[in-house]
């Protein structure tokens, strides 16, 4: 959209779906720093309020690329042949602040001081088949608690879960670090563990696109991922590995602030942005093992048809996988 004079060949128009979260920062960086333009991509963002409509918009061809957690909806859309995961984005990594497990003060005082005590407790999730649902079951599996002994409370919205947790109507929840740190600072909520301890190398979010794009315009996908990876690298360096100067980090935060928490003053928004920084995979590499584990879990819970295969979900020809 920026190119004042069209380059030799007109740039490919690409519509990228995004949520105004720090986890989408790689795209913003790639856009602001011209990496997309370098790849001959004329990127336009479409912002969504939730991940699910974004997935549908990609299936319907309104949007070309999106980034979201692997959810039941995503897999079902893939099963219908509409979309494909083509790369990785956010990943849990030991040593970097990842998603935290939280307990309400009341439950904490009553003994829920570690995830091992989750049996018989209630756990907040947004929706059935969301990543929260997956995480709590993985915790249960690891702690040897039968999955059915943790009561799941679908509350649709992150905000609603926070409210329920603060007032002690649910006992526990997991959430990304910047939100977790912010609310755990208050008196109503206590942190009791880290997801990284239960799901190592958890591939939290992935880059996905329509199946049509992978088959008809593989080159476009490739170029997008290249630019995206450059943006991710800059982001990781500035806010995750902190290998750059403080000034550069500050610049990065300012860049992201254009998209995230834009309606708050910068000094209020900056800590949230910094807290929210989790590693975005180098080169958009995809942890297939984690994806496969998630897929198996969805099948085991009958949330997706058992006929779905990893090949239906992932097109691994674009990035490195492990």
């Amino acid at each position: 959209a920026l190119a004042p004079v069209a380059p030799a060949a007109a740039a490919d128009k690409v519509n990228v779906g995004a949520l105004r979260f720090t986890s989408h920062a790689a795209s913003f960086v790639a856009f602001e720093r011209g990496y997309f333009a370098d790849e001959g991509l004329d990127v336009e963002f479409t912002f969504f309020q939730a991940a699910q409509p974004m997935a549908v918009a990609i299936a319907s061809g309104d949007v070309d690329f999106g980034i979201t957690a692997i959810s039941g909806g995503l897999i079902n859309l893939a099963e219908k042949g509409a979309i494909k995961v083509v790369g990785g984005a956010l990943q849990e990594e030991p040593g970097i602040d990842g998603q935290m497990i939280l307990a309400s003060k009341a439950a904490y005082d009553a003994g829920l001081t570690s995830p091992a005590a989750l049996a018989g407790k209630s756990f907040g999730i947004t929706q059935t088949g969301s990543s929260f649902h997956y995480m709590v079951h993985k915790i249960a599996d690891k702690e040897g608690i039968p999955r059915s002994e943790i009561t799941l409370r679908p509350l649709q919205k992150v905000g609603a879960v926070i409210g329920a947790l603060k007032t002690g109507q649910i006992d526990a929840w997991t959430i990304v670090p910047h939100i977790a740190k912010a609310i755990a600072a208050g008196p109503e909520i206590e942190p009791i563990g880290m997801i990284a301890d239960y799901i190592p190398d958890y591939q939290v979010t992935t880059v996905f696109t329509s199946t049509a794009n992978t088959t008809e315009r593989p080159d476009l996908v490739k170029r997008f991922l290249t630019a995206f990876a450059k943006g991710a690298a800059d982001f990781n360096a500035a806010l995750v590995d902190k290998t750059v100067s403080e000034q550069e980090a500050e610049d990065m935060v300012r860049l992201i602030h254009k998209y995230v928490y834009a309606d708050r003053p910068f000094d209020k928004a900056a800590p949230s942005i910094r807290n929210g920084a989790m590693r975005i995979n180098e080169g958009a590499r995809l942890n297939l093992a984690s994806v496969s584990d998630q897929l198996e879990w969805f099948k085991s819970e009958n949330l997706v048809p058992s006929s779905v295969t990893l090949e239906m979900l992932v097109d691994s020809s674009f990035v490195e996988t492990d």
């Binding site: 549908v56 959810s71 909806g73 079902n76 929706q127 059935t128 088949g129 509350l155 329920a164 007032t167």
Partner: protein, 289 residues
């Protein structure tokens, strides 16, 4: 074009009628009086409703089968029916329905009763109107889903918040419909009641309320539909069972066949409620021509 300048025509006719005055003789020119009345009074036409539904379903199924309607856009009715059948077979249907119906009935009944009461107050008292009507205008447009986080805190994640959601949803339209109906009651009937020394309460019960009944029943149609709509919003909050929860789950999994089956259940509820209110209208408003 005044009425007085017709003398020309009058004199042209001159003699009154002559042989024409004997209608028997002029039988050949006799025509029945053109019928101008009738109409403007819908009669019940049977079978059209079901036929329309059947036609839509058949077209839709045909479209899906032939691929005109992509499966991504809209699953075939047969798929939705299959999903519904599974729901019946696993016995889940009754759990979902039971949970939802209970919330619906409690919430809607409370919302309607409060709504009619407040609507009457607004219609009857100047002070209530001045104080409450702006409040209704201001509170009605607040989206229940936006307030979910606060509802969770205020009413908890049990049945309270669910019933409250439906209650609020059916309360406001009922208030508006009722107060509008009260405003529309013929005041000369009220004066009659007063002239016979009827008590205030008698006037309200026997003159105002029946006079506003058409509007209240219209409002009930609207508020019942809204209550059903709000099942989904209500069951967003920590509901394990319920048609709304089922739809939400299907939506989040993008299981469109289940989604459609759930939506069809809501539609069926709407049809039944609509039919019941139609019966109530025919009974309560049988005094209308």
């Amino acid at each position: 074009m005044t009425l007085s300048d017709t003398s020309a025509k009058a004199s042209a006719r001159g003699e009154p009628a002559g042989a024409d005055a004997s209608p028997e003789a002029a039988d050949t020119r006799l025509q029945p009086v053109p019928f101008r009345g009738g109409g403007f009074r819908p009669v019940r036409v049977r079978f059209v409703g079901p036929l329309v539904f059947a036609a839509i379903l058949v077209l839709w199924e045909a479209g899906s089968q032939s691929g005109v309607i992509s499966n991504l856009v809209l699953p075939a009715p047969s798929e939705a029916f299959e999903a519904f059948r599974q729901l019946v077979e696993t016995g889940q249907l009754w759990r979902h329905l039971g949970a939802s119906l209970q919330r619906l009935i409690v919430g809607w009944t409370l919302g309607m009763s409060l709504g009619v009461a407040v609507g009457l107050m607004i219609g009857l008292f100047s002070l209530a109107r001045a104080g409450l009507m702006p409040l209704v205008s201001a509170l009605f447009p607040i989206p229940k889903i936006a307030l979910l986080p606060l509802f969770v805190i205020w009413f908890g994640i049990g049945e309270g918040s669910k019933v409250a959601t439906i209650l609020f949803g059916s309360f406001f339209p009922t208030v508006i419909a009722t107060s509008g109906g009260v405003d529309n009651v013929d005041r000369s009937l009220v004066r009659m009641g007063q002239s016979f020394g009827l008590s205030w309460w008698s006037i309200v019960r026997k003159i105002i309320l029946p006079g506003a009944m058409p509007a209240i029943l219209s409002g009930a149609r609207i508020s019942a539909s809204i209550a059903i709509i709000l099942l989904v919003a209500a069951e967003m909050i920590g509901a394990e069972y319920g048609v709304g929860a089922f739809i939400l789950m299907a939506g989040s999994l993008f299981a469109t066949d289940q989604l459609l089956a759930g939506v069809a259940i809501l539609s069926a509820m709407g049809l039944i409620v609509g039919w019941l209110i139609g019966r109530a209208e025919r009974w309560l408003l049988r005094w209308r021509s």
